[in-house]
């Protein structure tokens, strides 16, 4: 019964706030105090304080913010009472401290009220311009170390739970900012019981019907379906606080979800998807374009570029080729196919360390050009179809360790050459040998 009085606290606190402000305004406006108003203010403050203590007794509120809110409430009541006494005595008491007390009262009332609002509505209830809002959308597509707890679970908890379950304000005596808090079973079932979904309080609460009184979070945005699934998977898979997502093997639907929501891709990644290079200046891009190239970044999240000559001149000048040098680090796909490119210009190929796909098909190159590609350590695909490459290039091709695909249709590479290639690099797929 008495607990119901505690629940009235959030409503009753508005009484002293209103009365005290009215009382102060009346005194300023009229130039003289009203003892009756001060009396009502004091009474309402005591009422609010008393119900506050009852609410505190229920034990659902804990932490620093709670404690400070309580102190502010008590000080408000005391100051109001002191001022009430002073006015009763016709101003003889605290004459010198009158102004100071009133200012202090406004301050304590404001701060205490604000803290109370934070407790009920959450810390972000009042969007102030200086508050920084964390950006919860993280793109993990370029990372290989993604700690499931630190990088995925903790941000969800921070976003959806820590408003009420944190160091400063651990409601239900649950602090969800730390491993210890999540695992603690001091007050019944722990929030997280590794491997045991049914006895993990956190999962039970977030998967209830939203109308259930124990559903979490009771206010503010709910956890999304994806967030619930990730938490479920985390607990089910052992609730580790240190495991790297990339080293785990989630079921397909979780993989899909991690990919969609966090950009975590479990597929094997190419060099150009993992490595990072600096962005090209727009002026460089414009310059290369003006020389008759198509150039564009591979993707939004990549600074690597793809260069080709489709729809442009087929003729080569050294000036045209030299323009590519300013992007030598960024070029990873280079397509010079179906043009008049030949050995005389091929020196330049030495300068591009990050090329992964090189297309030289239907150009006039011979073995001499292939001398210049042996340093392309990242080369995966090499297209030589329709060129004069011959068996003499086999040794050079075999120097490219990472090469996976080689196109040799309509070249002078012989059956023996293909055999040597396959022996030299068992991972190499040679495509286009006379018969398909």
């Amino acid at each position: 019964m008495i607990e119901i009085l505690g629940k009235l606290h959030p409503a009753l606190v508005h009484l002293p706030i209103g009365f005290i402000l009215i009382t102060l305004f009346y005194e300023w406006y009229k130039g003289k105090p009203s003892v009756a108003l001060w009396g009502i203010s004091t009474l309402s403050a005591i009422l609010a304080m008393a119900t506050g203590f009852i609410l505190l007794k229920t034990g659902y509120f804990e932490g620093l913010n709670m404690f400070l809110h309580m102190i502010m409430g008590v000080i408000t009541t005391i100051i109001t009472f002191l001022l009430f006494l002073a006015k009763m005595r016709d101003g003889s008491l605290f004459r010198g401290q009158n102004t100071f007390l009133k200012i202090a009262l406004i301050a304590v009332l404001g701060i205490g009220g604000h803290m109370g609002a934070e407790l009920t509505h959450g810390e972000e209830y009042l969007p102030l311009p200086f508050q920084t809002k964390s950006d919860s959308i993280v793109d993990f597509s370029k990372h290989d170390t993604i700690i499931l707890y630190d990088h995925i679970i903790q941000p969800i908890l921070k976003d959806k739970c820590n408003r009420c379950h944190e160091d400063g304000d651990a409601r239900g005596k649950l602090n969800m900012t730390s491993k210890e808090g999540l695992l603690s079973d001091k007050f019944g079932d722990p929030a997280v019981k590794p491997g045991d979904l049914q006895n993990s309080e956190i999962f039970k609460r977030i998967s209830l019907s939203p109308w259930h009184k124990k559903y979490m979070p009771p206010s503010g945005p709910d956890l999304t379906y994806g967030e619930k699934r990730v938490i479920e998977w985390w607990i089910r898979s052992g609730g580790s606080f240190t495991e790297n997502v990339k080293m785990m093997s989630p079921p397909d639907d979780i993989k899909e979800l991690l990919f969609k929501e966090y950009g975590i891709d479990f597929a094997k990644k190419s060099f150009y998807e993992k490595a990072e290079v600096s962005a090209l200046d727009q002026s460089v891009i414009d310059k290369i374009k003006s020389q008759g190239f198509n150039i564009g970044t591979l993707a939004d999240n990549s600074n690597f570029v793809d260069v080709n000559v489709k729809g442009h001149s087929l003729e080569w000048t050294s000036e045209r080729l030299q323009s590519l040098l300013e992007a030598k680090i960024q070029i990873t796909w280079l397509d010079l196919s179906d043009s008049d490119f030949d050995d005389s210009h091929s020196d330049i190929l030495n300068s591009f360390p990050n090329i992964t796909k090189l297309k030289l098909q239907n150009t006039n190159i011979t073995d001499a050009t292939l001398e210049n590609i042996v340093n392309m350590n990242e080369l995966i695909v090499l297209n030589l179809y329709g060129t004069n490459a011959s068996d003499q290039s086999i040794d050079n091709i075999l120097k490219i360790n990472k090469l996976e695909k080689l196109y040799i249709w309509q070249t002078k590479i012989s059956e023996e050459g293909i055999e040597r290639l396959k022996q030299g690099n068992s991972a190499l797929e040679v495509i286009g040998a006379s018969i398909l």
Binding site: P129, S141, D252, K255, E256, F259, K260, A267, S270, Y272, E273, N294, G296, L298, A299, D300, N301, S302, F304, N308, K310, G311, D338, K357, K359, Q361, V381, N383, Y385, K405, Y407, W409, I431, G432, L436
Partner: protein, 479 residues
Amino acid sequence: MCHCGNYEKYTRRDFLQKTTLGLGAFSMASLMDPGLMARNVMNNIENAGPHFAPKAKRVIYLFQSGGPSQQDLFDYKPLLNKLNGQEIPKSILGNQRLTGMSGGQGEFPLAGSHFNFKQHGQSGAWVSDLMPFTSEIVDDLCFIKSMYTEAINHDPAATFIQTGSQLPGRPSLGAWLSYGLGSENENLPNFVVLVTKDKFGQPLYKRLWGNGFLPSHHQGVQFRAGKHPVLYLHNPPGVEDADRRSQLDVLKQLEEINLENTNDPEIEARINQYEMAYRMQTSVPEVMDVDKEPDYIYDMYGPDSKKPGTYAANALLARRLIEKGVKSVQLYHQGWDHHGNLPNAIKVSCKETDQPTAALIKDLKQRGLLEDTLVVWGGEFGRTSYTQGQLTPDNYGRDHHPRCFTIFMAGAGVKGGFTYGATDDFGYNLADNPMHVHDLQATILHLMGLNHEKLTYKHQGRRYRLTDQFGVVNHNILT
């Protein structure tokens, strides 16, 4: 005065949104995040992709219009032969919607395929002897046997698989790709359509390759067989090239005045199209000039490949367009709608398409183009396991069946020699790993480096996607 509602830089909605929210809130928001205002004004950003590194840079979609019968081509169902002539069990038929053409039949006898199936390649994929050439390349193909769609008739089903909606008005796949990725070869359209000529069957409407509400330069451009591949592209007699150029220059000046006054992006599109048409006067004859193709290439694509306008000739052209950097090439071949007389009619369709399809994939492969080109083969839905009309020892027909059908893909980023999904033993229901049309669209966009949920266009107050609000990328079929 143009009354079309989409040319203003600021729309009525923008105005109301900004003023009713309060100028204070607006200026506050833009103070805190200066990018916000710019983003609000520029809702639709051309060529925003790729969102991630693409596996495929180009796509060739071989659309088999009419709905090829999966039970006679790829989805081997020996049970149908065993139960040939018996009524399809009620439990299999279920409550599925049937068309008015066969729904009123008194009985639904199962029809076993008249064609022999064999396993091919290292992957052991089942292909019937209707497709001797395709069966040679199964190790490069990724079969999806569990495709399903929502529409039961040709037009909505084709519109659905090509534009993501059964109702007309949405941009087609190729248009979305052009909008999202831009063009690689500015002398040719980004999206070219080749329709097999002199074929009859279900009509093909331009909306299948239309731009919908996207700017009109993203629409597919149909190349025709014959003297004028692109209609009205050539100079009329008596007009010299220089005349045409100066005429276009003056026209451009006039258009630019108009553009300044109205800000209508369609004017910009029009200017660009005139310029492209001018460049195409040389580039199109060049790409259409197949005379220099060697004989062994013609042999590969088959006897039809020398006859302009056939599927074989179009397949060869598709390769030539892809070589030039065209982003999407879409072939359409009518005549797969075999309601009756299926055993004879399907032979014709297969003879026309099997060899060229296989040749195209082989040709792309030997040139290294399959590396970054995606090939998709398929129709708008499947066909029923029961016969439509009379089942006789040497004849049967099959009705439309949206519940399951087979397509295949090849090339960039998809697993070769792989089969995904399965139908039940009757070939009538999905048994394993269903793949919806929207999933296919999402997966194609994914291969092209686009996130189907991010590739949006704001039109009439809301953002649209190719996949509407659906679709999941099928990572199982990706390498």
